[in-house]
Symmetry: C2
Subunit: 229 residues, 2 copies
């Protein structure tokens, strides 16, 4: 029985290999991870993805909110958007999620760095249509605030028509993680300059209720949990 | 004499038009900005860019630290990296910087949204070489902590050789900004669900000095300014 594939340091354990050469981490291969636990944790902690697609040989990179549904990552957009139309037409895409965790200020410029977590997913996305689309959009809202979709004013046919949802399988994905902190060259530690790390975080502030919120509507627990996440 | 191009609301003023169709904001054109003041402010507030490039028709999107130098945006990488090699070979690139400012929780799923600021730059990047490269790498460090480069252990020839720097002109760039906050449909405001906005911020935490920092080296003012930015 194999050991936990999520623990590359488990005795006798081994890290899963890259599913394809396209997503194999080439530079600093020790930072590459291909197990779904690592990939899912980074995707689930993120908020914004950057989606790359190509038109006439020119790449475009578009920031978008996204969510994960099981073995797929999903995003939405206007049915009329150039990105959505290209993706729905079967253009190869790359979806990247990244989170910077710290800035590393070393004694040399060369050893300046950052700790970070990122995921890259490549492939061809699939349009999500019909009742699946309505369900996916509910799941999108619930991915931010669990349970919220059921409390909303129901979607109209027109709204549904204006909105497109696409999904991309996590079959061809990799994570890249640096969590090494400061790494100066031996001998540099006596150089007379401040060195260390600066944590970087994405934080949620205090929710600001709508100015026309009817009295008696309290902040839902789900929103409280989001801002603590 | 034209009015300030950075102020779209100036009496008699007009917003600059998109430099090319490739970066024109098509969806929600009112969110598009093409003046350098808006573009530079977003670039200067950001930390991580997502760079898109194409290999064999497949787009790849790579997160990277970046900095702005006058009319260009720059980034660095290992001379051996696939991204750097493709970019140095003249592959078209797209560099995108985005910052999410708030999550909008509306009464309908359709009006859920986010306030954000983003910049897209497309074009062909140029390798920065020779003494310009060394100067650019110093500028990179100084873009994080002004004045720091001069205090560092000097770069070695080997380090310089291992590091590549590329720059991309801001000639073909656009910004997209949503700062509209909550926008429910008329009539939805009485729907019995909490609605409002949740601010999202990137914050710097307390600097953690190197464990082997010699005594007497204080936190530099530049680092203090970085974490307050």
């Amino acid at each position: 029985m194999p050991t936990d594939p999520t623990d590359p340091n488990a005795p006798g354990g081994h890290r899963p290999a890259a599913p394809t050469d396209r997503v194999r981490v080439r530079r600093k291969p020790d930072r590459g991870h291909y197990d779904r636990a690592t990939i899912d944790a980074i995707l689930d902690a993120g908020l914004v993805a950057h989606v790359g697609y190509v038109v006439d040989g020119q790449p475009y990179v578009v920031p978008t909110l996204y969510w994960r549904g099981g073995d797929r990552v999903l995003w939405h957009g206007s049915s009329a958007s150039r990105m959505i139309r290209a993706v729905e037409a079967g253009a190869p895409v790359c979806l990247t999620v990244s989170q910077i965790d710290s800035i590393i200020l070393a004694r040399s410029g060369f050893n300046h760095s950052a700790d970070y977590r990122s995921v890259v997913v490549v492939g061809v996305a699939t349009p999500v249509v019909g009742e699946d689309k309505a369900r996916a959009l509910d799941a999108f809202v619930d991915s931010l605030v669990p349970g919220r979709a059921a409390d909303l004013r129901p979607m109209t046919e027109k709204e549904l028509k204006q909105t497109a949802v696409v999904s991309l399988a996590l079959d061809e994905a990799s994570a890249k993680v640096r969590d090494a902190g400061l790494g100066d060259d031996p001998g540099d530690e006596t150089w007379p300059v401040w060195a260390g790390t600066i944590p970087v975080r994405r934080t949620f502030g205090t929710p600001e209720p709508a100015s026309d919120l009817p009295p008696g509507i309290e902040l839902p627990d789900g929103v409280r949990r989001l801002i603590e996440r």
